[in-house]
Symmetry: C2
Subunit: 125 residues, 2 copies
Amino acid sequence: MIIHIEAESDIPIYTQLTNQIIEGIARGEIAPGDSLPSVRAFAADLGVNMHTVNKSYHELEKKGIIKIVPKSGAIISSIEQMTEEKKQLIEAGFKPVIAEAFVLGMSKKEIEELVSGMLNQMKER
Amino acid sequence: MIIHIEAESDIPIYTQLTNQIIEGIARGEIAPGDSLPSVRAFAADLGVNMHTVNKSYHELEKKGIIKIVPKSGAIISSIEQMTEEKKQLIEAGFKPVIAEAFVLGMSKKEIEELVSGMLNQMKER
DNA sequence: CCTTTGTTCTATAAATGGTAGAACAAAATT
DNA sequence: AATTTTGTTCTACCATTTATAGAACAAAGG
């Protein structure tokens, strides 16, 4: 999986990393059961600090996407059940981007097609 | 339009305000041509600092959603043409939320229905 | 004429983001 | 068994961001 960090971005490095790992899973490049590199190895690979990678991993664990097993590694979790709480968090994430797309002039149909197109880039389960 | 600011949130106050104004426009509660309150009046109303509202307004202007006319007010803009650059910014905004929803276990169909449902809360143009 | 307006400036305080180094105990490897 | 690697934890430092505060200004509005 190729990670591309932009130091100049206004998005924090650890967030860029978190998002790109999630996108890698969505695309099927890495799958549940697979291990992520160690924080030290990944940090050296990306040219960032160990603590920055560590923060990203803990963010992913908080979201329920990976499981950090001390002295063993960060393993991608299997998908658990969809709770109402999780669904509301996801909806809260969608809210501002949908409203902005609509206000900036995209039609409902265009937005739906954009979302469908992006979903087609992801690997079916 | 009702604005609800959560001081305890990890989302900056000016971002919360920006998003809720955008959502208000999307719902049709405020329309192009309408004026937003003055930074001082809005700040007093919300119980936040004048500069915080000012920052939100400038963020909205940067996005092309309002026009700040000095000594006159902040007027909601009409929708301009959809450029390829704007579409790519919107797509970049969708990317992480779609990937996360998918990885957290929502099916493509569920995601599409969630988006459609949220779009139906918005006022047709 | 007076108030309101957005802008601009300085200032302060807390939180965030990123890097850095060191130390530790446990797991994995050799 | 000895060594390396691992995630964790701690302190430390620095720049930026977030939020508030007050003051001053010129221009628009009533």
